[in-house]
């Protein structure tokens, strides 16, 4: 039994974030500290895995295990880390470019396998680390260093995409509301299966201060009347792009990959202790 009570600062490392002043990622980081403290997960049992981008620096600011891996591969690295030790709490973090552009091919598979990890995408609709190019969630018409004549590509709607991939937990949070966001993240981590949080995390440097103001104007919390297991209602929330609904949008439990691993191992063992591997040479007798 754990006797020590963990507080948010127990999850904080000594490394100082390199993020710009006013960056939304500070709020995300604090929400994660708070969520872990709420759940009382010991830091050594947590692995935070990231890809590449400003937001992917986050694991370094945590006093847990961390892995700042390569661009776009948060989900496979996190999957491997989870499978190595099924008791580890694994949290994948990254930006909208890392997740929805270079890494987007991995999302449906983590979702359909229902890997028991949490994936937090800090969405600022811009490439910040490379200094301001269009991202897959950049709005139409946005002028950036690579869309000098205005963005012509329809942005991805992350929540809609995740629900359609059969993700078992889909939520949206906003770094401007750290307390509520910490609750949402805690629910996501506690969820058994693949949980996704679109964390609206403004970039004042490349999207201007008005991004923050705009989100605050558009964002509101989901009514208590919403039933997250109602897929149609969840899609309706996802589709109403002019009113950014915050909270748990979709949630439906189903067996997780961890369950499958245990089930397959049980079935394979067939109630018997496997013989020493060398005995398997018998299989190759002619």
């Amino acid at each position: 039994m754990e006797t020590k009570q963990f507080t948010a600062k127990d999850y904080k490392s000594d490394l100082k974030p390199i993020w710009c002043p006013g960056c939304g990622d500070f709020g995300v980081l604090n929400s994660i500290y708070q969520a872990l403290a709420t759940l009382q997960v010991p830091p050594h049992k947590v692995a935070v895995v990231s890809g590449i981008g400003c937001s992917s620096r986050l694991p370094g600011y945590m006093n847990t295990y961390g892995f700042n891996s390569v661009h776009g591969r948060v989900l496979p690295v996190a999957t491997g880390a989870k499978m190595a030790n099924l008791d580890t709490t694994v949290i994948g973090v990254g930006g909208d470019g890392d997740g929805f552009s270079i890494g987007s091919g991995h999302i449906p598979h983590a979702a359909r396998k229902n890997i028991d990890i949490t994936y937090i995408v800090m969405n600022n609709s811009i490439y910040g680390l490379t200094k301001g190019q269009a991202s897959p969630t950049s709005p139409l018409g946005l002028k950036t260093k690579t869309t000098m004549y205005g963005n012509v590509e329809a942005p991805i709607n992350p929540v809609r995409m995740m629900i359609s991939y059969n993700t078992s937990f889909v939520a949206r949070a906003f770094s401007g509301y750290p307390k509520e966001s910490a609750e949402i993240v805690a629910r996501a981590i506690a969820h058994k299966g693949f949980s996704f949080v679109e964390f609206l995390s403004p970039c004042p440097t490349f999207m201007g201060r008005e991004q923050f103001t705009m989100i605050r104007e558009q964002a509101s919390f989901i009514d208590d009347s919403h039933d997250p297991s109602d897929e149609v209602a969840a899609f309706d929330i996802a589709n109403s792009e002019d009113q950014l609904k915050l909270g748990i949008i979709y949630h439906k439990n189903r067996p997780t990959y961890t369950d499958f691993v245990r089930q397959i191992q049980k079935e394979a063992k067939h109630g018997q202790v496997a013989p020493p591997v060398i005995e398997l040479l018998k299989m190759f007798e002619p």
């Binding site: 690295v77 491997g80 989870k82 499978m83 190595a84 991995h106 598979h109 591997v277």
Partner: protein, 596 residues
Amino acid sequence: MAQNDIVIGIAGSGGDGVVSAGEILINAAASDGLFTFMLKSFGPQIRGGESSVRARISQNPIATQGDRIDVLVVLSWKDYMRFRTEMDFRDNFVIVSDADDKFPEEDIPIDMSRVKAWYKIPFGEVAKNTAGSLLAKNIVMLGAVAKLFSLPSEALEQSIKKKFSKKKAEVLESNLTALHAGSDYIKDNFTKDDDISFSYEKGEPRLVMEGNEAIAFGALYSGIDYFAGYPITPSSEIMQWLAAEMPKYGGVFMQMEDELASINAIVGASFGGAKAMTATSGPGISLMNESIGLASMAELPIVVVNVQRVGPSTGIPTKTEQADLMQAIWGSHGDSPKVVIAPSDVEDCFDTTVLSFYIAEKYQIPVIILSDGFIGQRKESINPERFRSMKYGFKKVNKRLTPTAAQLKDFRRFKYTENGVSPVTWPGMEGGEYQAAGIEHDELGWPTSDVDIHEKMNVKRFAKHDRIKEEFEFVRTYGPDDATVGIIAWGSSKGAVKEAVQKANAEGHKVAAIIPQIIMPFLTKPFEKFLKTKKHIMVAEVAYAGPFRRYLRGFIRFGDYGIKITPYSVSGGAPFSVEQIYDKLMEICKEEGCSK
């Protein structure tokens, strides 16, 4: 004339049961204690098309599939045409074919003056009339061939019994009937008018294995915890075998969405403390290269199997090649140290896999196993004792260095050490929390762009190579030490080189060969010894642009030794034949006067 070494080629369409007939035949031979070697060949579509096998059976140890076919069995001449360039025949060889084949005989591209006898047997008709099923025509064929050439017939019966033991009794019965019907058909209709007859002394049964199976077996033997992979020819058998066996031993097997996911998942699992492996080929290994570098940088042990096939791009998926060498050694951007190990036959696949896990875990470094389609998909009889006496298989040794309680007080995951290895922790270990990273980092794991730290970290990461070079001497040599003519080859080319050197030695030519199994780091010591007496060396490889020769030149100044180099680089598709190597060797011998 009685012979104790025979090569039988069988060609037919996908549904003819060519491969299963070949398997039954070599299994029968191996259970009678014979040495066997079977090569499968498929058309480009992999599934559903034509197929052929070449089965060699011998009383004595063999290292190749045999250059020349003694007996050609054709179930369909149309399908034979696809493999005509892959089959060479001895003089006075024998053909056994389907009497009902409507293929025009004048279109058969074989010089009939070299054929001693041609037996035409209505395989399908005999199968239908006796076994009651056309499906048994491959078994009728086996019965006929065994009768004609005195192949182990009792063992064939046992082999069929074993193969169909899980099927309904009628199925087994009808196959045994088919076997006898084939034999009877020969007895009733032909008098033997060729001189091929196999004779042997029965011995202890041998095991039969494919290279891919031996790698999978080696991984399980090493205690693999996690495998993630994506199906690709010719490596898929590795993942298939592990998919069935790993869960019994508490391991986790995952089929991923692509090779990017596979390599990153095993790096993630290694970070999580698991012994992790993936296996791939061709395009798959190109995709994986980025994160092999991630494992170099984060100093995480992983084992990556590349069963090479013809490239570039899709190339010829079903055919073998040795052209991925430079990619294995120098692939991935930046200075990324890795270890490259090459098995040279099926038994080697087991040894080198166990060795790879040992090196990976001990030195916290990615290890690439460079196998190829030739080794991966062939069946060879193996010596089980070699497996039982494996030196590096002990799990006690095969374990990562973890920090002591004192070291944990000021834990530096990437602490500079003389041999480059620093203690490692993983999630679940209290007090060992750190950040692994693909970004350059300091001893604590924090990101840095400091060039001095980068230099120090390179020294640390590459120090592992020096230690590995000191710890192992993994090469094979053949022929007398004082030979002046030599061959350097690697991987699956060993078989042809070994047999060519043995043949030349038996004829009194002083030639020798060296085959390194650890390719990177380069094992200087055994090469220095080998080079001392040499005047002329042939570098043989199945890769058009000669990557192995160029790699050797990077480590050996042949000029300093006064050694002349003769390159022998051929395009992939088929492995070297013994004759190819032998003939080239004789040209050099003539020039250097190495023959008595």
